[in-house]
Point group: C2
Chain length 604, copies 2
């Protein structure tokens, strides 16, 4: 761990205390640890401890709930909130991000591990651990191969549609637990199929009463809690924090109710005793068969992509509020460390979650060390209260999940997309619907492919313009927009885009048509001032264009090829067979092809 | 059919005879048919008939061979060379393209229909027909939805790698037939697995003698035939045509040998009697189960893509030699008609083939009607000679396939790619290897995805430049390349690329970092002169940038937004929440944000 007090405006730490490490030879470095601790204690310890305590209170029910959502024993969620936080604190860059199990990732985990574990005859817990380690591997690979650009694959319509759809399907998927019906499924389709098979579709009365009661209470607190607490005279920040900790209040209330009225709650599914000892008695990773690793490699890539994008969005949103810069590659390292720690310590995949991060932020956490305190407090809390939590009804956890995920549903992006682009709105709705009906993987795959198709269609028809010379100058402009001179035997065309496989074949065909329509033409000059790059397909199309023009007695020339590109063309010799020349400037081409240098037979 | 004598330089047709149709009311239109026929008879009939006869001679062995390659009875290849040619003549645009079964498509057909037919409990012949109709459907869909841009998906490295790999694997796959070994497989991997299971890996002596003999003969004729015929005094064109018809010579020779020496060729696999009657006794399409249609929909898309790209390349290459323009959308119509005809008449998928088209071209075919004559001649030839062809050894057909596909292997593109881009060379080699080892679908899928990944990486980091004012002008240029004035509280950045999901998040992060590094900054102006388009992700990033800058007290402005984009932004109101303004020109922004109009506190 490397506590770095944040030097922002609201930190108030004396700069000397937070000074960077002394020169890196051993004794001085060792000495600086003491100095750092001293600085940290003075600057941030108090704030961090308070924030950690508050986050811990939120984490207890959330950890249990998300483990159940992932189809795992509740204690796995607690494990996922211990070491991964510490690992992130050591490698990540955000001072407010709180990592741990989050709703969307937990649902994706369930979808990935259940079939993989069945196919390989192992438990889902081991599969979750393998998945977490593989996600860490994906992050390391992305870091080494600089694949972080692929985060862009999740375009805004795909991401909004996915988060909305996932939130809806998670909420819907919790209804059976909330009401005490035995149906299960990770998509609406699966849920309905399962519902058709259960012995009774009627809610279990006591479960439904507890579940709906908890839901109503949580909703009331979320909707009116803040105002009520303010009305009671609490200061704004305290009221906000208390309102955010509502889930714990409902948890305590329901445990009290279950303990007090054992007769009334017969048949209500309970979370069961949460024991750290049981959590630590996991099958070690090396007993996972190779088939399991293989089966989870694909899902790990997808989960890694989603985890990275979601976490980065949270870190950046909170970082901006503090004027603090998030470093994407450091985030990748932090998440890799957190997931590796999760997998090795018997936990499930984790990432930066919005709910816990915002609580951390509002509670005033100042450094990543707050996360370490959180982990400590949570461990102690589970050791002390693990037995008590056994009496917690699963329906209450279902209610906390429903309230948490429905707060992620935001229709504003849909309205904006509708106004901006009907195609992208359609994509957003499609991804939402697919997430609900066909599952996360199908939805993301279709979304990414559709985004790529839109990109291709966008870049497939680049702008080009025939150019002529502004009289008396060496400036060449679009013949349609300026009064320029042209030469009858020469057509000069400015290309405004790189020549790539998406557009070069079309461009060559278009230029050939244009050239074919001019009987007297002898030279076609491509003015390459806007061409940053040519890929092998572009090169191929240039050769093809040269051949087809050659059959008409027209020679193909280039002009104003950008420096780096000209160097590459020269060194590789790939255009040595070109029928025409490569001119440094368009004016030079004009001079050479017009007959007389610069002047010549110019027609308006 | 609509015969259109080509008005090119070598056609020599009197322009009056080839005049376009009379005004389109009925009697005149009817009268013009007679006039057209008259014109056609005078201008092109003789040439077309000769070309058709020559192509027919080539088609007989080729049709049988490619049907066997597709895992179908030989007569199906003949069926595929009858009606589809006529249908293409009615709808296509090329005057020289000859459609029919081709090598690569036939191999892909085999890979598609064998598993689909097995899974649905039907014969492969029915599956081939369904596949052809679905390919026609893919073309119609591409035509209606203007999906022809997706032909660009097959970038040059992918296409060269695929054609090379397919040619190699087809040649390798013919070796068992050539030598009389019972192994089969559509990839090298499958072939080796199959080889491990056959009772004997030793060649069948008589089969191998015939096969290797035919191979040597074909190779000799291809390599030295032209020179030998010229040495015998034949004129160049006649010698060329005779050399191209070599396969028929070898076919006749081998049939004669088999008929003369029945004892010597015992155990040699023969093609079997080719009967048009049997070809017509196919299961009608409507008996195909829905599962078969579903199973072949994916392969049909892939085959359609390959068929279109291959056919277009052939048509364009030959069209260029005649100075004749190929219309991509007309080609799509022609290929749709040809494949629909193939599916309905009990044949297999077809496309424009290089070998038959070049023979058609060299033989002097002048209009698409030559194809109709070819179909007629081929039908008659099979009716008369179908029994004789029964004595044709399959090893001879294997030899013709091997010689035909190996002529498609061209290592020059590999050398060029190596010199131009190591990454694209690597992609080309990867696709070649995957085609040979893992099959066509895996190879194309990986190739297309890798091309898209390269495209993303290329466009993910667009160029941007901070700009300042050239003193005393209203021109704004890159501060790194020009002596320009800037304002301390204003940063102006020119974006040289559309704001799309591939780049906008990175751009927003980069600009935020830049802005964060300048303490006194109050305004960031994005000069949008190079931004042609903004997608929803780009819009999202602008909002995000505005929010993060806002937290630092910096306002975000836009300037020089292009007309169509400004209109869309205005109409949709999506940027109404922007903290800053949208300035018409950068000079206006300079004036407004610099305090005094145009002048102000300018620092060099």
């Amino acid at each position: 761990m490397n506590p770095q007090p944040h030097p922002g405006a609201d930190a108030g730490a004396p700069p000397s205390a937070a000074a960077p490490a002394a020169p890196a030879h051993e004794p001085a470095a060792r000495a600086s640890w003491a100095a750092r601790w001293h600085g940290y204690r003075r600057a941030a310890l108090g704030d961090d401890l308070v924030a950690a305590l508050i986050v811990t209170i939120l984490l207890v029910p959330q950890s249990l709930a998300y483990a159940l959502l992932a189809g795992l024993p509740p204690v796995v969620g607690v494990m996922a909130s211990l070491l991964p936080i510490v690992a992130y604190a050591a490698f990540g860059s955000s001072t407010t991000l709180a990592v741990g199990p989050v709703a969307v990732l937990s649902m994706m985990t369930a979808q990935a591990i259940v079939p993989a574990a069945q196919a390989n005859g192992v438990g889902v817990h081991l599969a979750a651990m393998v998945l977490a380690v593989e996600i860490a591997g994906v992050f390391v690979l992305a870091l080494l191969l600089r694949l972080d650009v692929f985060a862009a694959l999740l375009s805004a319509p795909v991401l909004h549609g996915f988060v909305t759809g996932a939130s809806l399907v998670i909420a819907i998927g919790q209804l059976p637990s909330l009401l005490g019906v035995a149906a299960r499924g990770s998509t609406l389709t699966e849920l309905l199929e399962s519902l058709a098979k259960v012995p009774s579709v009627w809610p279990h009365a006591a479960t439904a009463a507890i579940g709906l009661g908890a839901l109503a209470l949580l909703w009331l607190i979320r909707r009116h809690g803040l105002a009520a607490l303010r009305a009671l005279g609490l200061p704004a920040r305290a009221a906000q924090l208390l309102a955010r900790m509502a889930p714990m209040f409902v948890v305590v209330l329901s445990i009290a109710a279950v303990t007090a009225l054992p007769q009334a709650v017969q048949g209500v599914a309970l979370a069961g005793r949460v024991s750290l000892g049981e959590g630590l008695a996991f099958t070690p990773l090396w007993q996972a068969p190779a088939g399991l690793w293989l089966a989870l490699a694909g899902p790990a890539t997808l989960l890694g992509l989603v985890a990275y994008v979601e976490s980065l969005a949270v870190a950046e949103a909170l970082g901006a509020r503090r004027g603090e810069k998030v470093l994407p590659r450091r985030e990748l390292m932090g998440l890799a460390a957190a997931n590796a720690a999760a997998g090795l310590s018997g936990a499930m995949p984790v990432t930066g979650g919005f709910a816990r991060s915002i609580v951390n932020f509002d509670a005033g956490a100042r450094t990543r060390v707050a996360g370490v305190w959180t982990a400590l407090f949570l461990g102690v809390a589970i050791l002390l209260l693990g037995d008590l939590l056994g009496a917690l009804p699963k329906a209450v956890l279902a209610a906390t999940i429903i309230v948490a995920v429905l707060s992620l549903v935001d229709l504003e992006p849909f309205a904006q997309a509708w106004r901006w682009s009907r195609v992208e709105f359609g994509l957003m709705v499609l991804v939402t619907a697919l997430t609900v009906l066909a599952g996360v993987e199908a939805a993301l795959l279709v979304g990414v492919l559709a985004s790529m198709a839109l990109l291709m269609q966008r870049t497939a028809r680049p702008h080009w313009a025939e150019v002529g010379r502004l009289p008396g100058t060496e400036v060449f402009r679009n013949v349609r927009r300026f009064q320029v001179q042209t030469l009858p035997q020469v057509m000069a065309v400015r290309i405004d885009e790189s020549l790539l496989f998406t557009n070069s074949r079309w461009l060559a065909e278009t230029l050939e048509s244009q050239a074919a329509a001019r009987p007297g033409l002898r030279h076609l000059v491509l003015m390459m001032s806007g061409v940053n790059d040519i890929d092998f397909s572009g090169l191929d199309s240039l050769h093809q264009l040269d051949r087809t023009l050659g059959a008409r007695g027209i020679r193909l020339h280039l002009s104003e090829v950008k420096g780096p590109l000209r160097d590459r063309l020269g060194a590789s010799g790939v255009l040595s067979g070109l029928s025409g020349k490569v001119f440094a400037t368009q004016a030079e081409a004009w001079g050479a092809l017009g007959g007389m240098g610069g002047g010549g037979a110019a027609s308006g």
